[in-house]
Symmetry: C2
Subunit: 331 residues, 2 copies
């Protein structure tokens, strides 16, 4: 039997980090996806291939250990941390659906990835959701979208420690979402186009470390960071209004303010800042880091200037245009 | 008769821009000064020389026109804006003290400048205060420090339009000051050393344009920018406590947060951001833009790392170490 599922990456437009403290965020699913194919295995192991990353791994179903194989199929003793990181999400997703241990045969799992890793574009959530959906399908299990998103969040919590359910929710539902931890996701109806360009640095950010850094800063300076998070909340709510009213200029200005507030939280870097300013110079109406920061990506909102911003960011680092995907998980 | 006066430049540690809206700021006088020497003129004109900038100008006492002369003493028809800008401060200061029009002879005025122009280090305030003090002395007029600071502020208002009285107050009083528009300056007693390195970009910032930009942003987004200014107030007050308690790490963290908030106000640039991050990488405990931004300078607080930060910033742009000067205007 072969099953396949896919789920989109996401870009946070407003409110990252603040969302950890119960504040709202606005995020979109993007038209870059992770696809997971599960087949009956050629041996007793669970083999995982991620061709785009040249990663080949084996999950030991008895011990739960993850080993990385090189392209000759030998165990690599010095695996890259990012790659093993991805394997952990897959392993945890399989264990959530109880797939690995309930079978009398191995599995061959192939992950196809259009989303860059560690770029703040929700690659781990997309892989997690697609793996969960494919695994449930393999078992013939019915899962509601709500269940799927919840299980995805559990996987992220298990692997990363701290995590917001935002990524897994967007990856599951798709579209343009206003999100709070308490009330979950609400769809936004934008009254404007959202031409977005992503610029990403070669350095991935570590979400766990960055979330912890903000927690420590808030602990050291509660009288400053708490009202700052309140400002972020107001900003995200204002942005929601501007998006539904089609106020392009306002949306851009609010992104720029949000970028400064993220810098104040200590999650900006010189590379991200450079991309942010280059995008504005090339005509972006607004630009900011997206996701956890500390590396990873910026997102530029560039009505009428997509080509100019794309060319400018490509001259500095890596960049690509993203569209908003109304499709969430499919299987 | 020859009279001479000098006044220090300043560096704002916390609260720039917020100070325009009645919030507090913390500033120090630095050990870089402007000195003004006034002599009876060799002809009927008021001649002004600023050797460090290669600027030679004439103020027409009847029309008030300012012409710039080249080094051969001919009127330059295409003067640089910055240089004529400086002449305007001198002209306005002379007119405040009523010196130019009350004499039956011309004046030779020499300005010696240790402070880079347009770098956010208060060069115009230092020149203004030193000119006012020297002119008053030339007339045999007694001026209190309070009067001098007030007249200096009038000059800045006349030349720049919007201006905070902070620069002229620091330039007059010297030392380590906590400043609000309403209550003026209060001396702070720091319980720590303040080893500072200034990094400055080759692009000067235009204070008037930057202050106007913040005003417009606040007008467009009052529900976001007003509470943001409140956060800046809390931050500056917290910084004052940390400085008087000798909490080095806190002071640095607060500078870093302040930098992000200034970025949110739209007064940061890619060049400033680069210097800010390079300083932190080289070991600065905190770093931020200082003054109006949009170009100009950053200031890095680097206990135990002055040499490292200085070398790092020099490898990127211009940098120098500054000490805090307890001396205000002298004459």
């Amino acid at each position: 039997m072969t099953v396949r599922a896919s789920a989109p990456g996401k870009a946070i437009l407003f409110g990252e980090h603040a969302v950890v403290y119960g504040k709202p965020a606005i995020a979109v699913a993007v038209d870059k996806r992770a696809s997971v194919t599960i087949r009956e295995g050629s041996n007793d192991h669970i083999q995982v291939k991620i061709p785009e990353l040249n990663v080949y791994g084996v999950i030991n179903t008895e011990t739960g250990d993850v080993s990385q194989l090189n392209s000759e199929g030998e165990v690599d003793q010095k695996p890259g941390t990012t790659d093993v990181g991805i394997m952990k999400f897959i392993k945890s997703a399989l264990s959530q659906t109880d797939l690995g241990s309930s079978l009398d045969h191995g599995l061959d799992i192939t992950v196809n990835l259009e989303i860059p890793i560690g770029a703040g574009l929700g690659s781990s959530a997309a892989i997690t959701i697609a793996t969960l959906a494919a695994a449930a399908r393999y078992k013939g299990q019915e899962l509601s979208l709500e269940n799927l998103a919840q299980m995805g969040h559990q996987v992220e919590l298990e692997v990363q420690g701290a995590a917001s359910p935002l990524d897994t929710t967007v990856s599951t539902l798709g579209g343009f979402l206003y999100f709070t931890r308490e009330r979950g996701a609400v769809r936004i109806k934008p009254a404007l186009e959202m031409p977005l360009v992503v610029g990403y640095t070669s350095q991935p950010g570590n979400t766990g470390i960055l979330v912890e850094g903000v927690r420590k800063l808030r602990q050291a300076h509660p009288t400053i960071i708490n009202p700052l998070l309140d400002v972020m909340e107001k900003l995200t709510n204002q942005a929601r209004e501007s998006i539904t009213r089609g106020e392009e200029k306002q949306v851009g200005e609010l992104m720029n303010i949000n970028q400064g507030l993220l810098d104040a939280l200590g999650v900006n870097t010189t590379e991200l800042s450079r991309l942010v300013y280059h995008a504005r110079r090339a005509g972006a109406t607004g630009s900011k880091l997206t996701g956890a920061g500390g590396g990873g990506s910026i997102i530029a909102y560039c009505p009428g200037k997509t080509r100019e911003v794309l060319e400018e960011l490509e001259s500095v680092e890596n960049a690509f245009q993203v569209g908003i995907s109304s499709k969430g998980v499919t299987w």
